[in-house]
């Protein structure tokens, strides 16, 4: 397949991996955080770990949008369905994420809740138009990648004066999460494979201050396996020469300034939230977006007077440490026994992009 096979070529991979093994200095460890779930997925799916030197470790970061959404926000969405009888439109991989009390959107749907899986934010608009006598809420989640489509539907719904449509906004921002992880004393990260799709929106220069402040090299990396390998080599070279810069491996998609149209859309419709809870990272200031006042009539949190719901995480679950890159999934005593993809306790086990799910599905035992 054009534009994919080129980035999955085994021979090129072996050559790149050999270079990495050659250039990795003995007598030290390299701890590289791949920020996105897409990277984690590629590392496991293509068996990239097998090709790396023993002293190079990938640490799995928080960049799985489904994983970092706290259970309370899902529980609040279920309340919308069950107490306000709304039609809730959601991206599919949120369906099985555990909310509190062993609940999930999937189970709420089975109880009769009208929850629809959609593939695009505009599908939610279509559902609202087709059901004028029902309230339709779009459960908007994700990093900067999925934020512009939400911004776009806000604009469209506003222009159409749709009265039965609103957005439950849960969009989060990448740079604050990255800064939070690097700021934590327990985290030891030598370099970061930076977000790929997110960066296509916000641009590679969005990470400059983070890179400078924490003296940590960042390489914007594509999601294909050769992208991951090439970016790993770029990080290795920065580390070996003592540099800490933002470099861009994913130049076929990411520019330094990003997608300015998308940024303008987001600025028009959304504003910074003072505080937002991330599963695993806790409450982070200036790390998420909410709907701007001009569009307040489309804000589900206001329309339905939604309250924050506190849900205690499973005590044994170490998702927080996994998301900060402090622990590996298999260090968790729940891993693979109490917590499995069939019955996930922590969010990292839910999405195929979650670190625990990737560990479980692809890497439980080495060949």
């Amino acid at each position: 397949m054009k534009y994919l096979d080129e980035f999955r070529d085994g021979a090129t991979a072996r050559a790149l991996a050999a270079t990495i093994r050659n250039e990795a200095l003995t007598g030290r460890e390299y701890r590289l955080m791949e920020f996105c779930g897409g990277h984690t997925h590629a590392i496991f799916r293509y068996g990239i770990k097998d090709l790396m030197p023993a002293n190079l470790r990938f640490v799995h970061g928080p960049g799985c949008p489904v994983c970092v959404l706290p259970a309370g926000r899902i529980e609040a969405a279920i309340k919308l369905v069950e107490e306000h009888q709304v039609i809730l439109c959601t991206y599919a991989d949120l369906m099985r994420v555990p909310a509190g009390k062993k609940d999930s959107l999937h189970k709420a749907k089975a109880r009769g809740g009208d929850i629809r899986m959609i593939y695009s934010a505009t599908d939610a608009l279509g559902i609202a138009q087709a059901n004028p006598d029902r309230q339709v809420v779009f459960f908007a989640i994700g990093f900067e990648t999925t934020t512009p489509p939400t911004a776009a539907v806000l604009k469209i719904a506003h222009a159409m004066e749709l009265k039965n449509f609103s957005v439950y906004c849960n969009h989060v921002l990448t740079p604050p999460a990255m800064a939070h992880i690097l700021d934590s004393a327990e985290t030891q990260i030598d370099g970061i494979l930076g977000p790929s799709h997110v960066s296509s929106v916000i641009g590679s220069c969005a990470y400059a201050s983070c890179c400078k402040q924490y003296k940590t090299p960042i390489v914007i990396a594509g999601f294909e396996p050769l992208d991951v390998l090439a970016s790993t080599l770029m990080l290795l070279r920065q580390i070996n020469t003592g540099r800490h810069e933002v470099e861009n491996q994913y130049t076929r998609v990411v520019s330094s300034t990003g997608n300015e149209k998308a940024q303008a859309l987001m600025r028009d419709t959304l504003v910074m939230r003072a505080l937002f809870e991330w599963r695993g990272l806790g409450r982070l200031p200036d790390s998420a977006m909410q709907i701007r006042g001009t569009y307040a009539d489309l804000d589900a949190e206001k329309r339905f007077a939604m309250q924050d719901i506190e849900v205690a995480e499973n005590k044994g679950c170490i998702c927080p440490a996994v998301l900060r890159g402090v622990s590996d999934p298999d260090a968790c005593k729940l891993f693979g026994t109490v917590c499995t993809p069939e019955d996930p306790k922590g969010a990292c086990m839910v999405s195929s992009e979650g670190a625990c799910a990737a560990y479980y599905s692809y890497g439980r035992r080495r060949a």
Partner: protein, 340 residues
């Protein structure tokens, strides 16, 4: 068989057992299934069977949409059960069919489905000899649900079962994977993409007969339907108490299937097939079996994709095209598209 151009929709009287039921059965079912045993109008079909080992299998069919590129629920319900029967090595003989119709289903659609079943069964040479129809109120079903049951006889000398895979055996697949699942998905509303993909829905007993002629010594057969190739291999590994090692590069996947899977974040290894089989045989039998498969229209793209290995954890592992290896796990829940 020409369609009768019946107008109107299914209503509750069609399930009442009265005149409307009788008319429906005559004008649609008997007409399109048309065989001697059904024509006797008994509540059961009676026939002689040869001595030997008999196989029975049943399969409930629900699918949305009812019509998809390359097939419909009717042909699917015939192929599905024939395949389940013949994955034991059996020659399928007869089918039964039970219909649950939702009030409001258009009679024209019902006739299209039944005609397609009739055609599939005639083409396969496996008649539908008895059946039943019930009607449920609107909202209590999804158009039509079809359950088919099939029986068949296993020829002498054939011993096929999911627990007979042993280390050293070869793993064959009869063609490209994921065609059915992606064809159905692409025809669903709301996805906003279209492909030229056709479902691979087909009855595999003829292909199997050609294979058994070359080597009756096949150990395991299974059609990788729901859950795809990955699930079938995991089932067989578990049942036989072995591991499997497959090679990504050897697995045939059509470019359209790969493309659609990429777009939706799905893995073709887990996407359903309705006209493919997995065969596990002695390594020495692999080449002649492959040649026989490739000479048959339903096995043109057959390939050897790996081998059975010893493994007390019964894992399916894959050598990636990339040069690494990974576990090909059971599917957890349903395969859901990813958001980024």
């Amino acid at each position: 068989m020409k369609a009768t151009h019946i107008k109107g929709v299914v209503d509750m009287t069609h399930g009442s057992g009265g005149r409307a039921s009788a008319r429906l059965i005559e004008e649609i079912f008997v007409r399109h299934f048309d065989n001697e045993l059904l024509a006797q109008r008994n509540d059961q079909a009676a026939f002689n069977v040869p001595a030997g080992r008999m196989v029975i299998s049943t399969d409930a069919h629900v699918i949305s949409p009812l019509f998809f590129p390359g097939g419909d629920i009717g042909s699917l319900s015939v192929h599905g059960t024939i395949n389940d029967v013949c994955m034991s090595g059996a020659v399928p003989l007869y089918l039964s069919a039970a219909f649950i119709l939702e009030e409001g289903l258009s009679l024209a659609d019902l006739e299209r489905i039944v005609a397609s079943m009739g055609e599939a069964s005639r083409k396969a040479g496996v008649p539908i000899v008895t059946g039943d129809t019930k009607v449920v109120e609107k909202g209590k079903a999804d158009g039509v649900f079809i359950t088919t049951t099939g029986i068949g006889m296993v020829p002498q000398g054939v011993n096929i079962s999911g627990d007979l895979a042993r280390a050293g055996h070869a793993i064959l697949i009869s063609g490209s994977i994921g065609d059915h699942g992606m064809a159905v998905l692409s025809s669903r509303e709301g996805l906003g993409f279209s492909t030229s993909l056709q479902s691979d829905s087909a009855a595999l007993h003829d292909l199997l007969a050609a294979m058994l002629e070359v080597s009756p010594n096949i150990h395991c057969l299974r059609d990788p339907t729901r859950g795809g190739l990955a699930t079938t291999l995991n089932e067989l590994a578990m049942q036989s108490g072995v591991g499997m090692l497959i090679e990504e590069q050897a697995i045939p996947v059509k470019p359209e299937v790969r493309g659609a899977c990429e777009l939706l974040g799905l893995d073709p290894l887990y996407v359903a097939n309705e006209g493919k089989l997995v065969c596990i045989c002695d390594a020495a039998d692999a080449a002649p079996l492959l040649a026989a498969m490739q000479a048959h229209p339903l096995g043109r793209d057959a390939a050897m994709i790996g081998r059975v290995v010893e493994d007390d954890q019964h894992l399916v592992q894959m050598q990636t095209a990339f040069g690494g290896s990974r576990i090909v796990d059971w599917l957890a829940g349903e395969q859901l598209p990813r958001i980024c």
